[in-house]
Subunit: 345 residues, 4 copies
């Protein structure tokens, strides 16, 4: 069985498993006060060019997002996001569970636009008291998005601008950041410039687990660790997280992981395009969304795995194909070969 | 100045102010254990024909809705509502502040439809784990709705049916229930049949303040009062609430209040229709939504008051005209006369 | 039946009921933007000598306290209080329900001492990470306290000092503030100096309902109204609250209410002391806590009412006797006369 | 440097690191639907003899406790615990952050007693409305406790009994369960009998991370996974957790880990007792609490590590010495030898 189900099907990339073995008996300090966590933070600060950024590595994506909302927002402040946003549909209402409303805006290609933001922030005639609706305070984006698209540097700068106009925070969910860094013109440095806070995904980028929260805006840094602890996000063995990001942030490992995944995805994409397969999003990243006849899927399903996204019609289905650091080029070619056979039989 | 701004511009109807004077020195028991609260509950139970309904009178509408969500739902359970729903836009995110997500569905004429509900409850292909999205658990409706429309008895029975199919609660916000009872074929008895819980609005129906929560479904009754108290909804002087609903629920007072408000609204509506004014919703109730040229509004604004709803275009504006128990028929005619003058000059 | 059960057994003092009658058809603006609310705020600001204090009148005491905690504290910040504090035992966990921990300190005579505060704020050896415990951030006191005692001006200044040392807020629950103002050397002006925020109780001081939150510290004022609305604390008919405090804050009415209640309590106290009755707290205010033989209570219970506090032993019980603006001097004397008869028979 | 600071200073026991290496490319299903998680659950169910127990492995201890409270309790329900309870002082108010009050009872030797529980559950005279205080609903205990003591089987049965009397849940925090199983007469089977739910600690018992929630009471099982996900407790790579507990629950590994740690602790304890060192708790488990002269600590601190608990007086300090699966017998002897030298010089 060759799997394109997701980018977190393996335990971790070999470098990380090796590091866990090597350091077993070091006896590190608890709660992220260890030297691995310090090194990970140092490497991240250097990449983004923000020497006073606060770094705290947390365990999982939902947890990281909910801690961000709990820490950065007052109770009446709301988040702006697109309906496909991870916080809107994949986190069991974790954000609302912290008490904050998520205001959904239409977006384009899975991305929040400045127009979306302006519309939400325009005053409402009927809100005579000025307090009947929540106060929009944060724009939540994912890079790459849930539909595989990416924000360009120009789009990010435009979002930053509209956020500044309306006194909003700009927060980026980087669950698949390694892929985004490879296929967009966004750089590490730009992230340090445009985002108030973002997280560097580990789980879907070769780590065993772990997501590194990077708080650029100093006004959001105070007591963040308290809130992370209170929400169950601090690991007693915090060095396990530090060690992984120390590894990922060195020697270009994180960037290589994204580059490989994207290269595999592009081979897949170009191959399928050549075969006339229809794509439902214009994704340059490691998630590809395609429509297949159900008959083809039935022929392939014993040898390949994917995620079903939606029923298109009685005869066809939208599926998602995901590549990762662990995807083998030969497996992609094998898949393409088999699709071709299906299509022409 | 003649006001059609809302239905809560007066302190209270005279019967209620009189009752407050009469009972000042009775020395009632605290926390709703008084005989007025008992009588109010008795009258409500008789009206709806549910002898074991739990009644607890709370102070305001936002408070009543948020206590309902806090008491009736587990943390991962969500509410289905239309985007114009009071809980979605007029309560500063109070429902999300209790931790629950509100799933917005399109609706028709400001009303949730069974199809809306079925669509939300359909399983999602991509939610392989079955726990990534919140669990829909309650359908929230308002009767009358925020756009002045009403659910018919048949529509309510159809919603009950789809709720039973999907194990959902049906909850009704009755902020303007007196109006709804007069202009729909919904009866008090039907409310006892189709709703798991609902509240009988006081504030917008002649009371000084107060909303009577009626919990029909026995499984939702346990410890409701604890949660009401914990959220600040219990008044030490609970008899003040009991006394008002004892008054409203006797001698047809509540029904008369709705009937008068509606009669005033219909005179207004028919008069404006005759003058060719455009309505943005087909409302049989005490809220009327109309589009006026800005030039007309400027001529009227020194003598009449309304609420602005939205900017239609450069030259016209949607406004809301509301009638109540206190609206004088002569004031409605005076408004119509002035509109007519404006229109034809 | 003569009742000393509590100070909120009547609807409201006559001046307030009269004001409600007089203003019924004024057509005030909603959500506290009316002139009565403005006047109430003006009068309060003048009394405390803080021209930029933010005033927002809320409905009930539990609600007011919980909104304060929700608005003033970040999620990891905790409150210091004595175990008898209203928030600790009389509010169904409302404060914890906003997510904040309440740290109980022993106190003396129902009052928090500077030593209590210093002990809580001392660093813990074992908290190596510095984030394992909540961060103390607010000292909560009641004036008068739940056991009827009062903080002197000197005690309040000492608390202010220790709060400044540890960057803590000082918050005062003024549910029975009219009594405290009469029987302590605390003045309105001092409240404006030492408290970050406090509320002026209405419910137990002659109002129908309502508690006026006074936010002295400018850093706590921003967006308070949003959070009040979100928690169900804003009344659409906010002018009803404004009107009551406009009335109470004029012509010395509020101060007279406390003075009368205290005078009645002192007649009660001195009379009972003369009869050798034992008091369980040294209260100069309108709540008196005494121990009576059960046999005496049985003789009195058909004609007088009180609240039972605790079982002292098999033969005696601690009860609370409360006086208010509505207590008649003749009723106090009648009670004393009857106790005397019981005691000597 | 020889460390007795805690029992989670190493990454993980070798068996677990090995398992992570071996399974890297298996391609397991996400969100705990993998076969490792199933096997772990099977082994746990067999140990406790409850075939329908719900097992869900979460990431950390604070997280596990807070998810338990969020899932098992309604908003007004409170927890009973001793002041040294982990939830009371080591979790940054995580339980209160879920909205629940923690009622502290005195306890004996760090353990909740049936009398403590009965006292809390006795009705309060003054709570006339019956809803002014929270409703006690859960007894929280740790086994072993925070001071190293253990509940005997008889004590656990007595707690179960008082819980049944008052309709309370009995919940056990098993952060150091392997030690408790070795040094008390509590068995796995007894846990299945007396607890409504408990968790089997991984982090402090040889795992890399992970705590296995075991829900015995069927009425608590429904939708637990939703709430775990919503609070950030579900790992996408859930098999990492399953794999670790599959390993720990086989071949007596978990029991061996506790037995070794305890054996090391007993050598330490007996050695120190022989040297006349004073212990502050009577602990049979892997945490030993002792008082040392500061002069001795200064002599030892360059070669050994411990946790400081409290300042006893100007000349002595209470410290904690912890052993684990990784503690070497020779290191314990070396410590004892050095203490002896210090003491007699």
């Amino acid at each position: 069985m060759i799997s394109f189900v997701n980018d977190y099907s393996e335990n971790a990339c070999p470098e990380i498993l090796e590091a866990l073995q090597q350091t077993n008996y070091e006896g590190n300090k608890a709660y992220s006060y260890d030297r691995h966590s310090e090194l990970a933070a140092k490497f991240i600060r250097e990449k983004i060019g923000v020497s006073d950024a606060e770094i705290q590595i947390l365990v999982g994506g939902t947890q990281t997002n909910l801690i961000a909302m709990a820490a950065f927002l007052r109770p009446h402040e709301a988040i702006i996001a697109v309906p496909t946003g991870h916080i809107c549909v994949h986190e069991t209402g974790a954000v609302e569970c912290t008490g904050h409303k998520c205001i959904e805006v239409a977006g384009v290609d899975g991305k929040v636009t400045p127009e979306d933001v302006r519309k939400v922030c325009a005053p409402q005639h009927w809100d005579h008291a000025g307090i009947l609706t929540v106060r929009p305070k944060m724009v939540y984006i994912s890079q790459t998005t849930e539909v595989g698209t990416v924000y360009s540097a120009a789009e990010l700068r435009a979002l930053r601008e509209v956020c500044d106009e309306h006194n909003l925070l700009l927060y980026c969910d980087g669950a698949r950041l390694s892929s985004a860094l490879d296929c967009s013109d966004m750089t590490w440095e730009l992230m340090g410039e445009v985002f108030d806070a973002f997280y560097i995904g580990g789980t879907k980028n070769g780590a065993l687990f772990g997501e590194a929260m990077v708080i650029v805006n100093p006004s959001l840094q105070e007591d963040f660790r308290y809130i992370a602890k209170q929400r169950g996000g601090m690991l007693a063995k915090g060095w396990l997280l530090g060690l992984q990001f120390e590894t990922l942030m060195q020697n270009g490992l994180y960037e290589k992981i994204g580059a490989h995944a994207n290269r595999m995805a592009m081979i897949m994409r170009e191959g399928l395009l050549r075969l006339g397969v229809r794509f439902t999003s214009d994704s340059p990243s490691n998630q590809q969304f395609v429509v297949f006849p159900n008959s083809v899927l039935r022929e392939l399903e014993n040898d390949f795995a994917w995620e079903v996204i939606s029923t298109v019609d009685d005869n066809s289905t939208e599926i998602r194909l995901v590549t990762s650091w662990a995807t083998k080029e030969s497996d992609v070619h094998e898949f393409l070969r088999r699709v071709e056979v299906c299509k022409f039989n």
